[in-house]
Symmetry: C2
């Protein structure tokens, strides 16, 4: 598109010029350009040739042919967390460099995404969109396929459903991240480790969960299903999840939360119940957003390069839009465990400690 634009802009040839070159009058060229019928085929040929030669476009056409920079659409499932801000920052960052414009929308949780995907794809096509980046969305495989069917490049970041095979997905090394989190907790001496996950079907959640499970298994620690609670990547899930885990007969001494937002919820509920972190309960988050750093205590968290993920997704979409080959169907960026203040060895080998804590708090709980 960039090339076409430049040619058109450079030439800015006139209709008269074309007429001269074709050896006809201006009105005749005008007729050809506007698709009038009353032109001899032979004449039309000559004019068409001249037209092509000087790269003429009518004033109206010019605008359409030279429509400025590429436009990429970015669809967020929701726009609530530090996670999305970071991803969007990365995208906008690279967009500025690449001279591309970014259209943002929120699909709003409903998998419908406002318009049906067919209509949306058609609209994107009509408006010459270069591609689509879908962030943590619940688009179904069928919906994403609709875009691909129309030839629109699509890249997904941390999708909630497995994407079709012709859609590039960008994410972090979630399995390795989950492993690092669990290893850290096991190394501190924890054995009863709860997992407060994201949406059960989400690829990234699955990977984090399996990283965590693989560590337990390799250390001969039983994986107890009741210690695994899936939910949304939101603080409410942390609050409810902690309550649930504390209600177990053997509550965990450590929790691996699949996002910082979830961890913040855990922190808040723990504080409300008088459970000290990390003395009574160790906590690891995931994402490594500013939330992790700002919380009290500062959150040990598996950081993922969210801005880089955004940049990477845009790079991949543009590459596809320009017909360049994909180097990978799945782009996976490294995670890193950042140890802060929310993790420590378990208080005592005696497992009754936590349950006593939680029991005692039942009485003194403020009636919120």
């Amino acid at each position: 598109m960039a090339t076409a634009t430049r040619t058109a802009t450079k030439a800015k040839s006139t209709l008269a010029e074309v007429a001269r070159l074709a050896g006809v009058s201006a009105p005749t060229v005008s007729k050809v350009v506007n698709g009038r019928g009353d032109v001899a085929p032979e004449t039309r040929e000559k004019v068409l040739a001249a037209l092509a030669k000087v790269g003429y476009s009518s004033p109206g056409q010019r605008r359409v042919a030279a429509p400025g920079p590429d436009v990429v659409e970015v669809a967020f499932d929701a726009l609530t967390s530090a996670y999305t801000t970071d991803v969007l920052t990365g995208i906008l960052d690279y967009a500025a460099v690449a001279g591309v414009e970014v259209m943002v929308s929120v699909t709003g949780g409903t998998s419908g995404a406002g318009l049906g995907p067919e209509r949306r794809a058609q609209r994107m096509l009509d408006q010459g969109r270069a591609g689509l980046i879908v962030v943590t969305s619940a688009f179904s495989e069928a919906q994403l396929s609709a875009f691909r069917r129309h030839g629109i490049p699509v890249v997904v970041i941390d999708p909630q459903n497995p994407p079709p095979s012709d859609v590039v997905s960008v994410g972090a090394t979630n399995w390795a991240g989950g492993k690092a989190a669990a290893e850290h907790l096991v190394a501190l001496g924890h054995e009863r480790i709860g997992y407060l996950g994201g949406p059960e079907g989400a690829e990234c959640n699955q990977a984090r969960l399996h990283g965590y499970m693989s560590v337990l298994m390799s250390h001969g620690i039983a994986v107890k299903p009741e210690r695994i609670v899936h939910g949304k990547f939101r603080s409410e899930h942390g609050i409810e999840g902690l309550k649930r885990l504390l209600s177990l007969s053997e509550p965990p001494t450590a929790i691996f939360a699949a996002s910082d937002s979830i961890a913040v919820g855990v922190l808040r509920e723990a504080r409300r119940q008088g459970i000290r972190v990390p003395e009574d309960l160790s906590l690891v988050g995931f994402d490594g957003t500013a939330q992790a750093e700002d919380s009290v205590p500062a959150l040990t968290s598996v950081s993922q390069p969210l801005q880089e993920m955004g940049r990477s997704a845009l790079r991949s979409v543009l590459r596809q839009a320009h017909g360049e080959p994909l180097d990978s169907h799945r782009v996976e960026l490294a995670t890193e465990l950042v140890v802060r203040e929310s993790t420590a060895p378990p208080a005592a080998p005696d497992p009754s400690r936590i349950s006593r804590q939680s029991a005692s708090s039942d009485g003194s709980r403020p009636s919120t």
Copy 2:
């Protein structure tokens, strides 16, 4: 533009018609349409009005304007805080309702905004953009005027410089908010109240500061310049600002921070120095973002309806784009003081308490 487009298609109004209506010559209208500078502001107004009335678009514009929904550009100064997420959420929210698309860019702190405003305005015109929303930006009055000269509707949210008179600005009742914050602290018994503000020139900062000052003055409390520190709306400013305030011979017993981000920085630095909030230091933030609720202790904060501000800005831009009259040149939405855990009466009438705290921490400070 749905309406305008339809009108334009129906009528296909000409420049001459606009000229007649505005009582000027065709060349003059041409100048306005093409953003030439040499038109008297008064004349420009008349032409702009006539233009809007007949829904005129230039031949080039017509092509671009016709297909698809309106596109509004949103330019953020930066995209770092919960504040921007909330504003953007409000904008996208209303965009979905209004059937409008939103193009997001980050101007990147530099007042240059990538392209010069003239070129950017021209490009927006070429691409048939319906309008521009500028969030907390450092665009100068001259830069914003460039957009208006091209007839592009512009709305600013919390600008860092005073906007030109033909630009609508959307904000909250900052003066009242500053007043509420200070009243609350004074009512608790505080007299030495520091102010950690935003950029000195920013309208919203000025208003918050003056609300604060008016309370002190009406209570016969001296306003000490050394207790007022301007800076950026970021946590770093809270950290540095607290250090500065603590270095005073009479350090404050309470701080009013002009944003939650700043307050979070204060909280972090206070914690590092072993200063307890609210026992040793009361703290009020501004914005009422999730940050305020999630921090420990939860932050007393003047909440502003950020999402509503976003919605309101978009509504106003679209109204202008459709040639409807403005109901107001300045939209001001209500703030509300939300009292949480970070404020309490001062520890003792004896003012030496805080300074002892800060002095003692000098020795035990971790060497970060």
